[in-house]
């Protein structure tokens, strides 16, 4: 899975988000109307699609979509 596929799959999780909104360097907290609920959606996405547990500190340490991709990818390998 490359970053583009990752972005496509992540965008599917957010119903009101127009496709193509997210870029690798987008700060994920800039998703329109960002709230703690979005964090739960991302955690569920990581668990469901990649069987990866994305912790609160993983989320704190990540800023961009690329960061999320990298941490999920590294956890998939470990």
């Amino acid at each position: 899975m490359d970053i583009q596929e990752f972005i496509q799959r992540l965008e599917n999780e957010f119903e009101d988000l127009p496709k193509g909104t997210l870029k690798p360097d987008t700060n994920y907290r800039d998703i329109p109307n960002w709230s703690s609920m979005h964090a739960l959606i991302i955690i569920a996405f990581a668990d469901d699609q990649f069987n990866v547990e994305l912790t609160a500190s993983d989320l704190r340490n990540a800023n961009t979509i690329q960061d999320l991709y990298d941490v999920i990818k590294s956890k998939m390998q470990s």
Partner: protein, 352 residues
């Protein structure tokens, strides 16, 4: 490993009570309309019941217990044990269960004590009371489970305030050699203590100079150390990690096919969280009832409240139920059993 089979324990009746006063999420103008709509859609809570000053969790449980005794036609003198699962007792001391023994007019021979558990508390309470009765030396017990969680949250904390509702419940158990077994799987992990916590007011940090100072944690989340804190991501990860294996081990231990379960009644934490757990466990939606839309997260009362408000007609005939509570502690527990043909489910009681 706390995988346990209890025999000769019958669950005879379940009742639940809520305050009449209703708060609607759409009226929570501390957050934007967009946020309110998103909250209703994802967290699932449209409305919840909020007890006014003069109603406590013990009051809601008191009325639930009265209804139970009336429906079962049980003499008050016949009750041997009264357990109250709560994290919002009437007083620091004495235990509310003891006050309720007297208020309910139960005999002085009653075993009465409180258990300090929340989300997992109903299943833990069934286990503790069932264990007391299992010896057959005492015959009848009442489990009360309920909280007034709305006293602990700050209006200016959007991560907690719109989430909780108040409710109480009562469940009657008896020693009955014809009862089918109840299987339990109970767990705890105190490394999650901070995930759901009221930091001050206990004996570790009693009232400090800064106890009531309201501090902004992040935008929209302002609270003091006497208020409840919720670390959503930690709780969500805990639920995704632990609930499914807990239930799977229980099913294996009890020799139960997942498909043979008629209803899975989960603690009502958060609709999105519960649905994530349900999907992970591959349980069909029609087997998982919810009360969260109308009552919010009602702590240890959530499982009996969901049964009372959703399964009253369905349980006229025996059904296989799996109950699972998970949260504050962390503490989590599940049980599986076939309901008795004589199980009585009362209509919801509303108190004002």
């Amino acid at each position: 490993m706390a995988l346990i089979k209890l025999q000769n324990i019958c669950i005879n009746a379940i009742s639940a009570a809520v305050p009449k006063q209703t708060f609607y999420t759409k009226d929570y103008t501390y957050i934007s309309e967009q946020e309110r709509l998103m909250f209703i859609k994802n967290v699932g809570i449209e409305q919840r019941r909020v007890a006014p000053f003069h109603i406590t969790a013990s009051d809601l449980c008191y009325y639930s217990a009265l209804r139970l005794l009336e429906e079962l036609n049980w003499e008050k003198e016949s009750i041997d044990a009264l357990i109250f699962v709560t994290q919002s007792p009437d007083y620091f001391i004495p235990a509310s269960s003891i006050i309720l023994q007297h208020r309910l007019g139960l005999s002085k021979n009653t075993i009465a004590f409180d258990i300090n558990l929340g989300c997992s508390g109903y299943v833990y309470g069934l286990y503790v009371l069932g264990s007391l009765l299992q010896s057959g030396q005492i015959k009848r017990g009442i489990l009360l489970a309920g909280d007034k969680s709305t006293i602990s949250v700050c209006l200016k904390d959007k991560s907690t305030y719109p989430l909780f509702g108040d409710a109480g419940s009562a469940t009657a158990l008896s020693y009955d050699e014809s009862a089918s077994p109840i299987y339990f799987h109970l767990q705890s992990d105190g490394s999650g203590e901070d995930a759901i916590k009221i930091p001050h007011g206990g004996s570790r940090y009693h009232i400090q100079p800064d106890t009531f100072d309201e501090v902004e944690i992040e935008p929209g989340i302002i609270r003091s150390k006497r208020h409840l804190q919720l670390l959503g991501a930690d709780i969500f990860n805990f639920a995704l990690r632990e609930v499914s294996p807990n239930v799977d081990k229980l099913l294996a231990f009890s020799g139960t096919d997942k498909e043979s379960i008629d209803y899975f009644v989960f603690h009502q934490a958060n609709f999105f969280m519960n649905e994530s757990v349900r999907k992970k466990m591959k349980i069909p939606a029609e087997k998982v009832p919810y009360s969260i839309q109308k009552f919010g997260n009602t702590s240890s009362a959530s499982i009996p409240l969901t049964i009372v408000t959703n399964l009253r007609e369905q349980l006229i005939f025996p059904k296989k139920l799996l109950l699972s509570g998970f949260g504050v502690g962390f503490s989590w527990a599940s049980c599986v059993f076939t309901t008795s043909p004589s199980l009585k489910i009362s209509g919801l009681i509303e108190i004002d």
